[in-house]
Symmetry: C2
Subunit: 347 residues, 2 copies
């Protein structure tokens, strides 16, 4: 069953292939009569023009790549966050008749496919300031928007970030306002990841404003995952009761942490306040529900794809980077420091 081509349609409709092409694209001049006939033939044989041929001619692909960091065994990172992002990007893209390729980037052969497939644009997520990818992408000369990236020399790159520093600041302020002064932090590797570093900077600034010096000993660096959070419960437990609150820089880690703490007999928020970050859907449905910093991933994705689109159309947005707002979402997992009658912990 050989694929039907524009040539077949032309023959069947008794016109030239140019006319068929013109009918499909609304270009050139075609009489209503002919157009109708051609469309009928197209419809009857449900013919669809080959994008390979078209894009070969037009030198583009109508394809957007989402470059997702890979974790163990070269797999895409396991975080529901990415699906949220894909959802947002795909929705916008589909409206513009673009499609979305989701791909992990590995060390060996990171990006040749971008070039080979002539992607119209790419969205790169979570690239750290010193990554070699950065140079590669620049070389490619493809419209690119960086998401959640804090880049060293990237002044003229398109960057879309959430206001991570503000998030760290808001969360810490909230805990301070509840009377907490020694606040532990759970985060991924602070040094290499701009996102967590920014949140940490917000954290320290808030503390400073209250005349408290940030104490690196209260920082627990752990993989950002349920298990990572779970395992760090032990360390947090050792820090208590001097430490009365924990700020986890990720909801996922916070959920693991809470589980771990509860198993150790710690009551949340009575004994310890826990604060998350992201406001993933589950945050509001935990017991206790999780106070967190909300970032609107949908907006983030939408902003990214919109910028890609305007870059594709040749109009580079005026401002290079945009920082989207975050918001404190107060729930049950944070409370005033110490119940009056529970100043000392049982040992």
């Amino acid at each position: 069953m050989n694929k039907i081509t524009i040539k077949d349609i032309a023959a069947l409709a008794g016109v030239s292939i140019a006319t068929v092409s013109n009918v499909m694209n609304g270009t050139g001049r075609v009489s209503g009569e002919t157009a109708k006939r051609v469309l009928q033939v197209i419809d009857r044989h449900d013919y669809a023009p080959s994008t390979a041929a078209r894009f070969l001619k037009e030198r583009r692909s109508q394809l957007i790549g989402i470059l997702v960091p890979t974790g163990e065994r070269g797999r895409l990172e396991d975080n529901p966050f990415y699906w949220q992002l894909v959802m947002a990007v795909e929705a916008e893209a589909r409206e513009e008749r673009l499609h979305v390729i989701v791909s992990g980037v590995t060390e060996e052969d990171p990006l040749t496919f971008v070039q080979e497939r002539q992607l119209d644009g790419i969205i790169a997520i979570g690239i750290t300031g010193d990554s070699p990818l950065l140079g590669r992408i620049a070389q490619l000369d493809v419209p690119c928007v960086y998401l959640d990236c804090y880049l060293a020399g990237g002044e003229n790159l398109q960057v879309v970030n959430m206001n991570d520093r503000m998030g760290g600041y808001l969360g810490t302020k909230h805990l301070l306002s509840l009377g907490h002064e020694r606040i532990a932090v759970i985060a991924g590797d602070i040094v290499t990841s701009g996102v967590y570093e920014e949140r940490w900077l917000g954290y320290t600034r808030a503390l400073e404003e209250s005349g408290i010096e940030a104490d690196r000993a209260l920082l627990v660096e752990t993989p950002v995952s349920l298990l990572g959070g779970y395992h760090s419960a032990q360390q947090v437990y050792m820090l208590s009761p001097k430490v009365t609150a924990v700020f986890a820089f990720s909801d996922v880690a916070a959920i693991g942490l809470m589980k771990g703490l509860q198993e150790l007999g710690v009551r949340i928020p009575d004994d310890l306040s826990v604060m998350g970050y992201d406001d993933i859907d589950y945050a509001g449905f935990l017991t206790p529900s999780l106070t967190t910093i909300r970032q609107d991933i949908g907006t983030k994705g939408k902003t990214a794809i919109r910028r890609i689109l305007s870059m594709i159309r040749g109009s580079v947005p005026a401002e290079h980077s945009v920082t989207l707002p975050v918001e404190l979402k107060r729930r049950q997992s944070t409370a005033l420091r110490f119940q009056p009658n529970s100043i000392q912990k049982e040992e």
Copy 2:
């Protein structure tokens, strides 16, 4: 900055384009000498051959489509499950040098892009027995694997399902073994969705084996989501205390349900046992942790893509459909019926 093509490489290396092509693909006969020279030139200009041109010739795309159901506003359905799937599929695909397009399918123009882009294969998720898509896909004549689909006349279609009936059966057996006899069920629309219907059939069979007749009044049909589960808590509450256990056919709904119940003062599992389905990552990290039916999404995805690959290579797997095993994951949210001292509920 015009894209560099095979022609440029040929000119620079002082050979014909045929030779360049041969060098790249290891076809034809090329001397080691020439090969080296060509490769150098390719490397120096980091040239990457255009897939559009290549695939135009080869009549394929090295592209796999994942067709995701769309929910409100035409967006991809919001369920972390899909990301798990994409992760698995993408990993396998990348090894075979295929790429993955994620696309929602809408009513208006469901699938022309499959044809236009000449996808090498598609993975269709959650298509119900009577969907018009089914016919369209068959028409396309593209290798397709159906995931989580119970199809009416689909004897010769490639279907990969989990053993949903067994899952329903196992979960119900478990609850029965704990002494529960009136067990409510929370599910999406049973009629149209094969998956939930199967689980329901497993449920009724288990009951029958204990001489209990399934009671349709104990079935709460609700959207499969956190909020859906949350809202159904009210109905479940009305059914208690005669009903002593709930089987939610989705973890996501179960999580919402538990939250709702806890807000109503119901203790889990003391007052009511709750059982989920899927074993999403969060299930083990809730308080109480959720007893559930585990399905291995990674394996599901891997199986699907493997079958696609063999279909692409022309060898249609012998058995048309495969059913993967599920497993009971016992945790804290289910317990023996009634504490001895709490036979009657306070009213």
